[in-house]
């Protein structure tokens, strides 16, 4: 490196002539990304604005305006938002407990490892685990019924519902929150707390006026990531509910398999809507993460 900066112009010229070769090193990656990530997505996005004949139209997006599709988006957003909010709150409480709560040190390692496992234990098997636990003949359901005389079904609880899906999604949402927020909590400097208490702040005031404002971007950012995470979850939902639940991923799955909406280009529009929603959520995440990293160095 150093020799090239001190060397004579011919070397510099040679370097300039070799410049396109630098790109060659990146070519395999770029070709892969374009062919299997960017082009397929672009195809969906463009397809959402195209008639079967190929001309521009907004008719597909307008086609989303049916009761079934609107309801699907609404419940999808509600489930994603609820599981993200609860996952954030509970994950934060657990992470704060192990980082700041004065629990024995040996808990931390295993808990973080378990979080790594649980956040990856999604999809079909996760649905089975919850069916075996609080499904119609699951462990807890049967125990409550036979030992305590409580019938969950009579109380209105059903695994194939808004709360059932939310409860199941929390199994990967909470650990993901713990994994992301623990480093942020580690970044809270002891001096800040000491300085606050020296100025007469109570514990609550420290949290409200110092710690939470600093953590706020990472909290909100993780919330966005968890939201997108739940919104795109297909496997868990299908294994849990079959196709009985009207949420966007299941609807899109059925549409790809057999064109249940009766218009192939409506599928494009449906998928486009998913990209827009997760895109907005993740855009917020990326923007806020960049902001929070300034404070936590």
């Amino acid at each position: 490196m150093q020799s090239s900066t001190t060397a004579a112009p011919p070397v510099a010229r040679a370097a300039r002539r070799r410049l396109p070769l630098h790109w060659l090193g990146l070519a395999p990656f770029l070709i892969f990304a374009v062919l299997f990530l960017i082009l397929p997505t672009m195809h969906i996005v463009l397809g959402a604005f195209r008639t079967p004949e190929g001309s521009f139209t907004l008719e597909n997006l307008r086609g989303l305006n049916t009761d079934q599709i609107k309801a699907a988006y609404l419940i999808s957003i509600k489930i994603s938002l609820a599981s993200a909010l609860l996952g954030c709150a509970i994950g934060f409480a657990v992470a704060a407990a192990i980082v700041l709560g004065g629990l024995p040190k040996f808990i931390r390692g295993p808990l973080l490892t378990f979080s790594g496992v649980a956040s990856n234990f999604a999809g079909v098997p996760l649905a089975f685990a919850f069916l075996a636990t609080i499904g119609p003949v699951g462990l807890i359901t049967v125990y409550l019924k036979t030992q305590m005389g409580i019938d969950l079904r009579l109380l209105g609880f059903n695994l194939l519902s808004f709360w059932g899906l939310t409860l199941t999604y929390l199994f990967f949402q909470i650990p993901l929150m713990i994994l992301i927020i623990t480093p942020a909590l580690d970044g809270l400097k002891k001096e800040w707390r000491e300085a606050a208490s020296m100025l007469g702040a109570s514990g609550l005031q420290y949290w409200r006026m110092v710690a939470l404002p600093i953590l706020f971007p990472s909290l909100l950012g993780t919330l966005a990531l968890l939201f997108a995470n739940a919104f795109g979850a297909v496997a868990t939902a299908i294994a849990l509910t079959g196709s009985s639940m009207n949420i966007v991923p299941i609807l899109l799955f059925a549409q790809i398999r057999g064109d249940v909406l009766g218009n192939p280009h409506l599928g494009y529009a449906l998928a486009f809507g998913m990209i827009v929603i997760t895109g907005i959520a993740n855009g917020i995440y990326i923007w806020l993460r960049a902001r929070s990293e300034r404070w936590l160095k």
């Binding site: 090193g25 657990v94 079909v124 297909v234």
Partner: protein, 260 residues
């Protein structure tokens, strides 16, 4: 007071996370009426469909890992060495699979690479397998790239490369014998994570109609009672093993590094 809160939060987490695990384990043992047995496991393991789909997914995972490593290691190396300014852009691309849901990506594949297109990958079984492998590589890209890039940060790429070049090594030698051994731990972490993702993946395999483990589990879940719970236990074991191996190799590598 704080301590009480902390124990409360931890206890809540413990209860919430252990109950489904206990539930699925207990349920998987209940196939024989009135007593616990491993009948469900025996039945699952003896099912030829299980063996077929499981080995298919293992093979897919291994091929995906090999392809992912071959793609990511040279790219991350090259970006660090020659085009540091391009790092944010490459990183952004690798994070895209977290933004775009897998179902949307595979929907694009189906429409873009169908039999009437310029690259008719879905026309043959082999072509579809390759397409599915590329799909898995896309899903694993954020994790693989991040792992390798973090691994590269700990070594002095420029100096190592120049030293190797002045000894007459070509790019292939540098990558295979200098860079790869140095980031092997990172590559292995990425590999195990990729394995955990691919082995149970459902959406892409189901929509591309390949006989993978994920769709098999879903099909069994729709038709049987006890076998799915046994499958869930097996899948949890695999995930646990992958994460455990990541921990193990990172700890092992820290140990050797400290001795130096």
């Amino acid at each position: 007071m704080t301590k009480l809160w902390s124990w409360g939060a931890l206890l809540f987490g413990l209860v919430y996370f252990t109950l489904p695990l206990i539930g699925m384990t207990e349920f998987s043992l209940k196939m024989r009426r009135g007593e616990y047995s491993f009948d469900a496991y025996a039945k699952v393991l003896a099912d030829p469909k299980f063996q077929e789909t499981f080995s298919y997914s293992v093979l897919m995972a291994l091929v995906t890992i090999a392809f992912g490593a071959l793609l990511v290691v040279p790219t991350a190396f090259w970006v660090r060495l020659k085009m540091p300014w391009a790092r944010p852009y490459v990183e952004f691309i690798t994070l895209l699979p977290l933004v775009i849901p897998a179902i949307v990506i595979v929907f694009g594949y189906i429409r873009l690479y169908n039999t009437s297109s310029w690259l008719p990958l879905t026309g043959t079984a082999m072509g579809t397998n390759i397409l599915l492998m590329f799909g898995y590589a896309t899903l694993a890209l954020p994790y693989m790239y991040r792992a390798v890039d973090t691994g590269l940060r700990t070594i002095d790429v420029a100096t190592l490369t120049e030293a190797a070049q002045s000894l007459g090594a070509g790019w292939g030698t540098i990558l295979a014998r200098i860079i790869l051994p140095n980031v092997l731990v990172a590559v292995l972490s990425g590999a195990f994570l990729t394995f955990a993702i691919v082995i149970g993946e459902f959406t892409m395999a189901a929509l591309l109609n390949r006989p993978a483990f994920g769709p098999y589990m879903q099909l069994l879940g729709a038709n049987r009672a006890y076998e799915p719970a046994a499958l869930a236990v097996i899948a949890f074991g695999i995930t646990w093993a992958c994460m455990g191996l990541i921990q193990l190799i990172t700890r092992f590598s820290k140990h050797t590094r400290a001795q130096r």
